[in-house]
Amino acid sequence: MKKNYLFFALLISIAYIVVGVRLFYLQVIKGQKYYEESKQNYTRLQLLYPPRGAIESSDGVKLAYDIPTYDLYIDPQEISENKHLEKEIERFKKLFGIDITNIIKANKNSITPIKIMDNLNTEQLETFYTNSYKFPGIFVGIVPKRVYPYGEEYAHIIGYVGLPSAKELKEYNIGPQSLVGKAGIEKRFNKYLIGTLGYKKIMVNALGKELYTIDKKSPVQGDTVVLTINSQIQNIVHKVFLDSGQKVGAVIVMNAHNGEILALDSFPEYNPNDIYKDWNKIINNPLRPFLNRATEAIYPPGSVFKVPIAIAALKYGVITPSSTLDCSGYIKVGNHIFYNWLRYDTGYQTIDQAIQNSCDTFFYQLGMKLGQKRIYDIEKDFGYGSSIPFELYNSPGFLPTKSWKLRKFHQPWYEGDTVNMSIGQGYVLVTLLQQVTMMEGIANNGVIYQPTLLKEIKTADGKVIFKNSRKVYKYVKAPLEDYSIVKKGLREVVLKGTGTNAFSTIVDIAGKTGTAQVVFGKHVGPNSPWKYQPDAWFVGFAPYRDPKYVVGVIVEHGIEGNLTAAPIVKRILEQIYIKGINREIN
C-alpha cells in the first residue's frame, strides 16, 4: 500500500501545481486580455436622444416641435423569472384589450426591453399608472415624436423628418433613432435643430437590467429656428387658395421692405405628420404634391416678363415716357407673323398703356430695338436665370443666349427669337420666387433685398445665436422716373387693364398678369381639356404708393392671369388689411 499511496500523493501534488500554474496564466498573464474582451458584456452605452429643436413663425407660433410619446415595454427578466406571467398577460388583456402573448413569444430570447404597445393616449397612460403595481415588469418608455400642428399648411416650407440614412449617420453626431430633416427647413437647418446627443454608460447584469450608472452626459435640445413667416398670413394664403377652387399652384407673399417671406405655399399640399403612412399615395399622385411649385417648379413667365423689358427700354432710351408705338394686331418679322393677344389694332400707346393692356406687338418692337443681349442683361439683373440664395432649394430657371441656341439646335439666333423672348415666350423658364423677386425690385425702385425665410436661430432657452439681417441681393440701376412710369403702368393694369380682378377698394394693388401657353401648335379654347389650358400668373405689390407686400401667384392651367390668379392676390391682400395684420408687420 505504501507505494501506491506515494504514487497518488505525487499525482495529487502535480494536479494542485497544475491548477496553480493555470491560475497564474489565467489571472495574471492573460488577465488583461480576457478582461478587455469581457468588458463589453457588462457595460452598455445608452444613447439619450435630445428633443429636436422647434420651428417657430415670426409671430411666435410653434410650427414644428417634439412631443413625448409613451410606449409600454416589458422587461425580459420578467418573462424568464415571473411565474405568474400568464396571469399578468390575462390582466393586461382585460385592461387594454390587447393580447401580448404573441409579442412575448416572438421576442422570448431578447435581452433588450420588448415594446408591447406604442403611442398610448392619456387615458391608457392613466389606466396603466393606476394599475402599474399589478405589472411589475412593464414600464413606460418615452420617445420624442415630431409634430406639425398645422399639418399641410406648412408642408412646403418646413418639410418633414425621417430616420437617418447611413450617410447622415456619419455626417452628424446622431444615433440610429434620431430624426433628421429630409426636406425643407427641417433639412436646411438640421444641423441646428438636431441638438446634441447625450449618453449614459451603465453597468448591466446578464439580462441587460441596469445596475448603476458609470458615466452620463445629458442631451442638449436642438436650437429653435424662427422663420420670417407670419402665421396669420400663411393661414390666409392657405385658405384663399383652397377656397378659390384651384388645385395646383403656388403663392408667395414677401415683405418688400426687407425681402422676408411672409407666406409661401404650394399646392397640392401633403401632411408631414402622416408622411410615411401616405407615402405611396403621395408619390403616385399625378399632381406631385412633393414638388414645391413656389421655388422648384419652372414655368414660362408669360407677360410678367415684360416688366423688366419696359425698364430696359426706358433706361436705354429706346423709348421715352411720352413717345408712342402702334399696338397693331400683328407684326411681320421676316416672313413670320407674330400676333398680339388681341388680333386687331388698338392704336398708338405709350409704354404705361402698353403695360396696362399687356400689348404684345408693342413689346415685340421694344424687344427688336433692344436686341437679345440687352434683354438678357436686364432679366439677369432682375434675378432671372440663376438660383437665388435662399433657404429652400430653388431652380435657376433658364434664360436663352445666342451661343446656347447654336450649341443646342445648331441654329443662329433669329430676330423671331428676340421677339418671342420679349413677351416671355420661347425658351425662357422661371420660378415663382424669381418673379416675386423681380417685382420686389420694381416696387423698391431697383433694390432687391435677398429673399429669406430665416429670422433668427436661438437656443432652446431663448438665447439668440444667429440673427438674420436684411441684405441687398441686387440693385438694378435705372432712373427713378423710369420705375415710376412702369409702376404707373402696373397700377393701371389693375385699374383698367388686363388685371382688373385684382382691384380692391381696401388696398391699392399694382401688378402684372401673365398667361403662359403650355402647348404649342394647337388651338386652345375654353372647352379644351384642363391640362392644355395656359398657366396663369399674377405678380404684384401693394400698396401702390408705398409698396410693402409683394405677392406672386401661379395657377397651373389657370386659363388666364386675370381670371384665376388675380382674385387670389386681391383676396390675400384684402384679408391682410381687414384683419389688421398689416400693423404687425414692419
Binding site: M1, F8, I12, A15, N205
Partner: protein
Amino acid sequence: MRFYVKEWDEVILVSVLLLYIIGLVNIASASLVGVAFLKFNFALYKKLILQVVAGILGFLLAFALTKFDYEKLKNPKFIYSIITLNMFLLIVVLVIKYARHMPVNRWLFGTSLQVSEFSKIISIVFLAYYISRKGEVSGTRELGFASFVIALQSFLIFLEPDRGSAIFLLFIGFIMLWIGNAPPKVLYPTLVVFAILGMIFLFLKTGSNYVEGRFVAWLNPFAKANTKGYQIIQSLFAFAHGKLLGVGIGEGIQKEGYLPEIDTDYALALIGEEWGFLGVLFVVFLYGGLVYRIFKISDFAEDTFGKLIAFGIGMYIAIESIWNMMMAMNLIPSKGIALPFISYGSSNLLANLIAIGLVMSVYRKEKKPWKRLS
C-alpha cells in the same frame, strides 16, 4: 516510548473551517447582489441560511463522529443496512423521477437531500470494510461483489441523471480497490468494466445532454460562445477580471447573471474574481494541506480499515476539488461536481463534514510518534 494523545488535528480543523467560511462569504456575495442588507427577505437569504444550518449540523455530526470509535463500523449488520438504505433511497429518487415525469431528479424531500452525495462516503466505508474484512485483503468473490455494488449504485445515480457523480463513484471505487491491493483477478476485470461503464455514462445521449458538444466547447469555448461555451467563457472572464488581487468581496460582476451556477459548480470563479489570484491560490493551498494531512493520517492508521477510510476520503476530497477547479479553469471538460466545503449544497456539505468526522475518528485512535512529548 510515550505517545502524544490528541483528539484533533488542527490543520484539518482550520482548513475545513476556513474553506467553509470562504464558502459562506461566497454564497452571501452571490445571492445578495445589489440588495440593501437592511431589508430582510427570506428568498434572498435562503441559500445562506441553509448553508449555515447544514454547516452547524455537519460540524456537530463531525464532533460526534470524532468521539465515535470508527472500528464499530466494521460490523456486517451496520454495513449491509447502510448500503441497503442507500440503494433504497437512490431507487426512491428514481421512482419519484419517473412517476412525476421529471427530466431530472436527484433529491428527496423537494430539493433538500441529494442521496448521491452520501453514496460516495457510504461507498468508501463499504469498500474499506470489504477489502479489509478478512485481515489485509479479502477474497476474489467478495471483492467482485463489492465492485458490483459500486457499479450498481453508479448506474442508479446515472439514471437520475447525475453523470458527474456516477463517474466519480466508479473512479473512487477503482482507486480504493487498487490501493487496497486487490488481486489482479479482481482489479483488471473491474478496471475494464468500470471503464466501459464510465464511457457509456459519459457519452450516452439522453434528452438534451450532448456530451460531445461539451468536448467541442472545452477545446475552443469561444467557437461556441453562445451555447455550450458560454459558461466556460464567463468563468474564464471571471478569473481574468479578478487578476492578481481581485476586485473585492461583493464587487464582482459575473454573479450578476452572467455566470450560471456561480455559487455551486463555478464557486471558484467567483472567488477568482473577487479574491484574485492570491485568494484562489490560498484556497488551493488549503485543499493541499487538508489532503496532505488526511493522507498522513491514513499512513499512520492503526489498521487497514482505518487506513482505507482515511485514504478514500483524502482521495475523495482531492479528486473532487481538483476536478472542480480544473473544470472552472477549462482544463477538463465541464461536468458538474461541487467544490468541497465551498459550494452551496447542504447534502454535499453534510457528507463532506461527516467524512472529516470519520477521518478525525481514525486520527484519535492513532499513536502519534512524530510528535513526541518529553
